[in-house]
């Protein structure tokens, strides 16, 4: 028996209050308005008052509209028919196809037991040298892409979606610009990756609270595929919008804000999503890459700051390139020992030299005299940026390592680098 009530007492922001009894916390309700139907979720119960967060916003809702409680929390359909499909932030299809109504699963399920996790051990190849060589992406890792607005983060995500070695991709858009949505769709279609991708798209023109459900839906679907043994990559863009939606609801509910208006539980809310990244013992895995735009390019802003404490490293996107110094993959040590023997040496050695190049570049800019060694570094830095850092570069890890030796040989003598002699004997390109 579904409960229905026909009197909305309060409408504040996107929160509706109705009088009802026997309603469960986080239960879903359907609001029928003259504009159509929309979903709402219970976010607070106080005696017979029920507070509902209306996903479509409260615009056009009348105090006399009907609210029907559905008797279950937010669910999403789960089957292999989902592949290639596109849904909106409420889980309804927007690609003209049929709604998925069979095999409904609850979203935002319990946390995996830490005792059932395994230490991650598989590399995910992306063919982007700045990732594969220098900050390797590892299965079950959670990594944000820190970026200021205007950086090509969605292009980077799309490339990873096309090239990453995984079984399937789930792409969640939160407050995505419509043209970016079209871009994702077209790029994946052209690249032939659409059939292994599921979209949950909330665009900037949709009501902001609808975006709150996107990460949970993506991750609930991902989790079920992972339990079936699939290696799933979840791409989210942009988690700062998610945090802003949380902020909006928190303020409407008159919660005491903690830092720049964000609610005190921002860390827990973000962690509940990111911690879904997991490698199940004896089943598949979930890897999460999430764009986090930094308002004002400020990494100490609450959203990137809290994210950094949760995730296992970060990619910094700056000037259209993955910045080698701020970026970090905490899990790379787990995998880069087994790729090729020169992988770690190249990773450390090339970055040390690049750091020296940066110092030299600073000196040069200040007008200090350039020594012969400085000239070599300058040449090296430019080559490094062109062949390794440019995001257009699309080569395998082994190819990238070979390129690395080539660059080194073009600029330095073997003894000027700090590589072990066995590696130099084996990999240093012989003079022709």
């Amino acid at each position: 028996m579904k409960k229905v009530c026909t009197k909305i007492v309060n409408i504040v922001g996107n929160v509706l209050t109705v009088q009802a009894e026997g309603v469960a916390y986080e239960e879903l309700a359907e609001v029928s308005t003259s504009m159509g139907r929309s979903l709402a979720q219970v976010i607070r119960l106080d005696k017979d008052r029920v507070y509902l967060q209306a996903f479509q916003g409260s615009r056009g809702i009348s105090t006399g509209d009907e609210v029907k409680f559905l008797g279950h929390p937010m669910q999403v359909g789960f089957s292999s028919n989902l592949l290639g499909r596109i849904f909106n932030g409420s889980g309804e299809p927007i690609d003209g196809g049929p709604a998925i109504t069979e095999n409904l699963i609850e979203i935002g399920g319990p946390s995996p037991n830490p005792a059932t996790r395994v230490i991650p051990s598989q590399m995910i190849r992306t063919n982007i040298p700045m990732i594969d060589v220098f900050n390797t992406l590892v299965e079950s890792q959670k990594l944000p892409i820190f970026s200021s607005s205007g950086e090509p983060y969605n292009e980077l995500l799309a490339r990873i979606a096309l090239q990453a070695e995984v079984d399937m991709i789930i792409l969640g858009g939160i407050g995505l610009k419509y043209d970016q949505y079209i871009y994702f769709k077209e790029t994946l279609e052209e690249g032939g990756a659409l059939s292994r991708t599921i979209f949950f798209m909330h665009t900037a023109s949709d009501p902001i609270v609808e975006g709150l459900m996107v990460p949970d839906m993506c991750l609930a679907v991902a989790e079920n595929f992972a339990l079936q043994g699939k290696r799933v990559l979840v791409l989210l863009s942009d988690m700062t919008n998610f945090a802003d939606a949380l902020k909006e609801i928190a303020i409407t509910m008159e919660q005491v804000p903690s830092n720049r208006g964000y609610p005190g539980d921002l860390y827990s809310q973000l962690a509940a999503r990111y911690e879904k990244a997991v490698d199940f013992d004896g089943a598949g895995s979930i890897t999460i890459l999430a764009v986090t735009t930094m308002p004002g390019d400020d990494v100490t802003h609450p959203v990137p700051d809290n994210t950094g404490y949760i995730t296992e490293g970060q990619f910094y996107l700056k000037g259209g390139r993955i910045e080698p110094f701020g970026s970090l993959s905490r899990l790379k040590q787990q995998v880069n020992k087994d790729t090729r023997e020169d992988h770690r040496a190249i990773m450390d050695g090339m970055l040390q030299l690049y750091a020296q190049y940066n110092e030299t570049e600073e000196k040069r800019a200040m007008g200090f005299r350039m020594s012969q060694w400085d000239q070599k570094l300058l040449k090296y830095g430019q080559l490094f940026e062109k062949t390794m850092m440019d995001l257009k570069v699309n080569i395998s890890l082994e190819k990238a390592l070979d390129e690395g030796w080539q660059i080194l040989a073009q600029c330095f003598e073997p003894e000027q680098t700090s590589f072990r002699s066995e590696l130099i004997n084996k990999f240093w390109p012989k003079a022709k």
Partner: protein, 576 residues
């Protein structure tokens, strides 16, 4: 005490308010009905006939009007043999057991006994029939792995008791009665090897608290030589993300010279706990020759687990630590991270609509932090033995800024501050403890005066470095330049330590004394003269390389001696 029932009147996140009749306790545990499950909750505020409870599970599906059963007890943990080597959640549920029973995900509303009640232990009585005892007195002991696990008179018993009967040496499980004691009124109480204690109450069944004097060796040079921590002392490790807090804690948990280590992973990444979980059983403790897990308990409430249980996880860890201290052992509690614990308090405080303090943290933040660290200490037990509990907490300040409330409240109460710096971490200088900003009030085994002198060289060297950025190397005098090189030298050969190298990761106190004496006498205090700055740099760089290689050689080995000779040769050649 009567057990009461109540009804839920409102739900707000993980907080419920409940209308009740009769009397209830502050911090009493209650169970809220949610469908066919019972969710554990704790009373945190009482207003008239309305109690506010924080729920230790996700509250999805809970309804107004649902029944709440109060248990009559405060939130407690089980104390008894069989705790070591376990992995618990914040409420002391054994996680591997839950995994066996429920699979990949944590079940909702399930409780399991923390101690295997059926496991047999060989009990050896110490106390005699007719003896007068009080809370904390030893009745007997069992052998738990490496340790003599004392079976004590439960700490909650007040007054004096007479032993009426005590079990003879034999195997017993935790449900068997091992002693009968009689109180002053003649009432008999049956005792088993296991009893409960409320987590938020410090255990005080000891004679007196002493001041911490003996150094707790962590085998990390930077800590032991410059910013030491005493057994029974407290320290904090604040640092921005990526500065290496967790790695440093892992190193300390592996190498610290204590009997028992309790790791409270509080609101942090599950992946890191998994590393500890999978690696500790494999790692051998050089002191005992047994796996590290045999001296470790892990309390694990990762960031995606319910928030209220996060708040209790540090208390759970602390209570278990105090319990082992009661046996005369040296215990180290590592809490990673106390900021998450403070945030959990902030979340609850916000839901209670309390007037917020700075950054919306509750006004009682400071006193809670102080109370927590005050549970550390060296104590003289009733039988005259000494036990210690050292507490170390990481702090994750928002934006890496140490001016925030949690760091500041912590700094007020701890005895050592090991501040991590992002600059050092970015430069891959590990451990990234900032040698110029950190401090400690404890004594090291290294002579204080020389350590102070070495620190002065570092301060001066830093000054020269700052100046050189403006005037360049050309504008710096040779003397200043040598001070700068010496400061750099201490940093790279002594402060920095390779945590991934089997030898360098752990530097014993003897080794530290030996190496530091040499470093101080032969290099820092020595006058060097060079013609050109480039010569000075080359000399110090080759010396540095030789010294770092020395760090990788096992002390006392032939390679160690040969490498030391190389350093001496270099110094002698220069002296000519």
């Amino acid at each position: 005490m009567n057990k009461n029932n109540g009804k839920i009147v409102s739900v707000n996140g993980n907080m419920i308010s409940v209308e009740f009749e009769g009397d209830i306790l502050q911090n009493e545990v209650a169970f809220a009905v949610c469908g066919d499950k019972k969710l554990k909750a704790e009373v945190i505020k009482i207003e008239g006939n309305i109690a506010f409870l924080q729920v230790f599970e996700y509250t999805k599906g809970i309804k107004v009007g649902a029944e709440v059963a109060f248990s009559g007890n405060m939130l407690s943990v089980q104390l008894g043999p069989g705790l070591l080597g376990q992995v618990y959640d914040g409420l002391q549920n054994p996680l591997p057991e839950l995994a066996k029973e429920f699979g990949y995900f944590l079940p909702v509303g399930i409780e399991r006994s923390a101690i295997d009640m059926k496991k047999k232990w060989t009990f050896n009585p110490i106390a005699k029939k007719g003896e007068k005892v009080k809370a904390g007195n030893v009745l007997g002991y069992v052998k738990e792995g490496l340790f003599k696990h004392n079976i004590m008179v439960p700490f909650y018993l007040q007054g004096e008791y007479e032993i009426q009967d005590i079990a003879s040496p034999n195997d017993y499980n935790c449900e068997d009665i091992i002693a009968k004691i009689k109180d002053e009124k003649g009432k008999t109480i049956d005792l088993t090897m296991v009893f409960e204690w409320p987590v938020k109450m410090p255990i005080k069944a000891y004679d007196e608290k002493l001041s911490p004097k003996e150094t707790m060796v962590t085998k990390q040079r930077l800590i032991d030589s410059f910013f030491p921590v005493s057994k029974g002392g407290t320290f904090c490790i604040p640092g921005p993300f990526g500065a290496g807090k967790t790695v440093l804690q892992q190193l300390i948990s592996r190498h610290a010279q204590v009997d028992i280590v309790i790791i409270a992973a509080c609101g942090e990444r599950a992946g890191e706990v998994v590393e500890t979980l999978k690696e500790f059983p494999e790692l051998i403790d050089p002191k005992t020759g047994k796996s590290l897990m045999e001296r470790t308990i892990i309390i694990c409430n990762t960031s995606s687990m319910p928030v209220a249980a996060r708040e209790s996880s540090v208390y759970t860890g602390c209570t278990l630590a105090e319990y082992y201290r009661q046996m005369g052992l040296d215990v180290l509690l590592l809490a990673d991270s106390t900021s998450r614990w403070a945030q959990a308090m902030r979340e609850i405080s916000g839901r209670l609509e309390e007037i917020p303090g700075e950054e919306a943290f509750p006004a009682y933040l400071e006193s809670r932090i102080a109370q927590f660290y005050e549970r550390a200490g060296v104590v003289k037990l009733l039988n005259g033995e000494k036990g210690s509990l050292t507490i170390g907490g990481t702090v994750s300040p928002a934006g890496g800024n140490f001016e925030e409330p949690v760091t500041q409240a912590t700094l007020k109460v701890v005895g050592a501050f090991l501040g991590l710096s992002r600059d050092r971490a970015n430069a891959r200088k590990f451990p990234s403890i900032d040698p110029l900003e950190s401090w400690s009030r404890y004594k090291s085994f290294i002579n204080e005066e020389i350590a102070e002198d070495a620190k002065n060289i570092m301060v001066k060297g830093d000054g020269v470095d700052q100046m050189m950025k403006v005037v360049g190397e050309e504008g710096t005098s040779m003397d200043d330049f040598i001070v700068y090189l010496k400061a750099e030298f201490i940093d790279s050969v002594y402060l920095q330590q390779n945590g991934f190298d089997s030898v360098d990761a752990a530097s014993s106190s003897q080794r530290q004394e030996y190496v530091f004496a040499k470093l101080y006498k032969d290099i820092l205090k020595k006058e060097f003269s060079f013609k050109e700055k480039e010569d000075a740099r080359t000399f110090f760089y080759s010396l540095r390389q030789a010294f770092i290689n020395w760090n990788y050689k096992e002390m006392g080995s032939d390679l160690f001696k040969t490498q030391e000779k190389k350093i001496d040769d270099l110094l002698q050649e220069k002296g000519k």
